[in-house]
């Protein structure tokens, strides 16, 4: 048992600093299986378990370069590793199937109602049932986390569900009432439809990825690229330089105006301007170069 433990411990320690990605897990398992194979070979050759484990690890050699390479590769996008696969909740599957059946039956009866085959109130009742089913199915689907998608916040999922419900209600009500008397009853389908369109527009324009974990992670990792943001001391120094440059320039301008006159004194301001921008360029660009 101790050989197994020591190989596992070695691997756990070696991979402690490596980000867990499908790729790194794969390499870890590969190393594990090959180390076990070598240990088995050594043990069958007469070595005791502890010695065999130590020898196998020593023969493996220095895997730091390999791991550094892995760490640098980071997260490859693509197919999720089995360990990242999200299983659907049974209750989600069950309810979705159930309400799909209800929806199928309701739509059939609404269509029958549209052709005047079933009584009006039956058709209206099934129109409501169809709308409710669509609302529940949409809400559940948006709340369900999948391998590719985060679950939507409950409130927003409910809002999408309600909007879908209203849309279905409007359309199926209109369908159920289209051949009934009085014929203008069809307009009862209009308000829910209009409401749902407004709701979808509002939901669409307020949709955001801002609160998703990967967006928050990106935000956290964002590093401003200019030296002033990265190094407040540089920014403060530049502020002081600016004050000094313009104070001197204006002082020289005033002195020149009083001694030499307007004809030449403006050159002091041009000089101040030039010095100011050269300072800015040096601090902004040379600082960046030396950092790279």
């Amino acid at each position: 048992m101790s050989t197994v433990t020591s190989i596992h411990r070695y691997l756990d320690e070696a991979f402690a600093e490596v980000p867990v990605t499908p790729d790194s897990l794969d390499l870890k398992e590969e190393l594990r299986s090959n180390l076990s194979a070598r240990v088995a070979e050594l043990v069958s050759g007469g070595a005791d378990d502890a010695t065999a484990a130590t020898t196998a690890v020593r023969e493996l050699g220095d895997i730091r370069d390999l791991l550094d390479g892995l760490a640098a590769e980071g997260h490859p996008a693509g197919v999720p590793h089995p360990s990242q696969r999200v299983r659907l909740r049974p209750i989600f599957v069950l309810l979705t199937v159930l309400f799909s059946l209800v929806l199928a039956k309701s739509v059939t009866w609404v269509v029958l109602g549209a052709f005047g085959i079933v009584p009006m109130w039956t058709a209206v009742a099934f129109a409501v049932a169809a709308a409710l089913s669509v609302g529940v199915i949409v809400t559940l689907a948006l709340r369900q986390e999948t391998s590719q998608h985060y679950p939507m916040p409950t409130g927003r999922a409910l809002a999408f569900g309600a909007a879908s419900l209203a849309m279905t209600l409007g359309v199926s009500l209109a369908a159920a009432l289209v051949t009934q008397q009085p014929f203008w009853a069809v307009v009862l389908g209009v308000p829910p439809t209009v409401l749902s369109i407004l709701a979808f527009v509002w939901l669409g324009v307020t949709q955001t990825n801002r609160t998703k974990p990967w967006a928050l992670e990106l935000q956290r990792q964002y590093v401003a690229d200019d030296p002033f943001t990265q190094n407040p001391a540089v920014a403060a120094r530049f502020g002081i330089y600016t004050v000094v440059i313009w104070t001197v320039a204006i002082a020289v301008f005033i002195v020149l105006t009083m001694t030499v006159g307007w004809l030449w004194s403006w050159l002091a301001l041009v000089g101040g301007f030039a010095v100011f921008f050269i300072t800015l360029a040096r601090m902004m660009l040379i600082a960046r170069q030396s950092r790279v």
């Binding site: 794969d26 390499l27 398992e29 590969e30 190393l31 594990r32 299986s33 090959n34 180390l35 076990s36 194979a37 070598r38 070979e41 023969e59 493996l60 050699g61 220095d62 895997i63 370069d65 390999l66 390479g69």
Partner: protein, 118 residues
């Protein structure tokens, strides 16, 4: 590169340059898993030269990335699962080319090293 105090013998440097081709050669006839490849190479040299296993893993990853070999997990029923490597057609082509290159180089170097005064 950090300066290394111990000097590697030249032959080991030479061999390292051919690790890719050696691994491709080992896989020519049959798919093998990592430790099997290591063992095959170790046994073939009779212990004269030992490729570091860590180096081999870097080689596997490079070969897979370049599409010269494919990796797949075996379905052993008992014991741990093993990751096997299979050579691709591109891998065979590269192997043949490297082999031809080496044969040519070997001939030239042999004749150059045997110039016994002109």
């Amino acid at each position: 590169m950090p300066e290394s105090l111990e000097r590697e013998p030249l032959s080991s440097d030479l061999l390292r340059g051919h690790t890719d081709t050696i691994v491709l050669g080992v896989l020519l006839k049959v798919d093998r898993y990592g430790f099997e490849i290591y063992k095959t190479i170790r046994d073939a040299t009779g212990g004269d030269y030992e490729i570091k296993e860590a180096t081999l893993y870097a080689t596997f990853r490079r070969l897979v990335k370049d599409g010269l070999v494919e990796a797949y997990w075996g379905d052993e029923t008992q014991g741990g699962r093993r990751k096997y490597y299979r050579i691709t057609d591109a891998g065979r082509a590269i192997y043949r080319r490297n082999l031809a290159d080496w044969t040519a180089t070997q001939r030239i170097i042999n004749s150059l090293l045997n110039l016994k005064g002109a």
